[in-house]
Amino acid sequence: MNSPNHSLSRWFRSGGEPAESNAQEKGTAAPRGTRRSIGFGEFMRSLQADLKAAGEQRLSILDLGSTSPANISFFTEMGLRVSTEDVLRACKDPDYMLRQEDGSEQFDSQKFLAENLAYSEGQFDAVLCWDVADYLPEALVKPLVERIRFVLKPHGTLLAFFHDKDPGPNSALYRYHITQTDTLEIEPKGSVKLQRIFNNRHVESLFADFASRKFFLGRDNYREVIVVR
């Protein structure tokens, strides 16, 4: 039987290239696992309460993870309008790197936000951030959270995951597919350098402008956070 560590080490051995592209080239499917998520369960309960209150009005949700047919199907069947934007993929565009005078490169968050996440104020009732923040360029983290706050309605809900411990030089990146109201299917997407570890204080500081933050601590070195605008 494959242990989680064994599964992860297989992805690490695949080198620096995203496993997603490797798998596609070889025509092999990445192995998937499941995870029960209390944070997502809480997120869904909040969303369903909003749905009841909304009546015939259609709610909108924004998914910042990789395009997931399962997620789109899940929410459209609920009658939601779904928007999806793969933020991490967009970040990889070299056009967003600014060369400094000293030769170093810095991420141009202004340009990124001018071309991405261009939604109107209060457009979304909920946002799924998954663990995107752990992999973002440093310069983009705070502006992105501000943008999310801008596009969320008052009392809108955000779900984010954060690593609790550094898993090493390369961290397995996952795609999250919703299977039930409290269960996620996780698909390894490749091994990517984790940019940072947010501790609780960092997370609180990051979402300081929001009305509330609720933490769920897992046994698997992940924290799930529900944030309400």
């Binding site: 309960r45 369903q48 015939e56 459209t76 999806t84 109201t181 409290d182 509330s212 933490f215 046994r219």
Partner: protein, 198 residues
Amino acid sequence: MWKPRPEDNQPMSSNQPSASPTVAAAPTPNLTTAPKEAPKMSHQAADRADVGHIGKSVVIRGELTGNEDLYLDGEIEGNINLRDHKLVIGPNGKIKASITARDIVLHGRVEGNVSATERVELKKACTLVGDVSTQRIVIEDGAYFKGSIDIKESKDSRSEARKPIAMAAASAGSSTGMSSSTTYNASSGSQGSFIEPK
């Protein structure tokens, strides 16, 4: 045991498609052992006759309208309107246009809003940057999509679709209400391991 004759595998004459519809239409009983692909291929060939083709070397700027199904593998900039027909964007297709059709199947790259009266299919390796409005959507794993999806549906089907979700929520059990301050919930035993191999 029946064996295919050598001439069965030979290509047809130049004015017939290689996937011949005659195989499925032949009346002899032996044809029941013909390759399974034959009916499908004959169907495709019949379809092909009714479908307009725009090849990969074609570049069009402006408005494209039509009253027939269309396979589009070239570059288009502008608007595409095939209101009651099917549009297939081939793998080489690069479209910067608003698209309106009955059914839309994407293999290539599209930047623009897509509106289908019936169905949109995003095939693997396709890219769609734009909003989708349709009754039904099929997205294959590997497709890249950036935009919003609005499913047009009747009020009845919408309320039906919500039912299973509402039931699942009721059975999931209650939890503490959202507080106005930070709350920490240690899920000691209830939250499973991050990876549970199937």
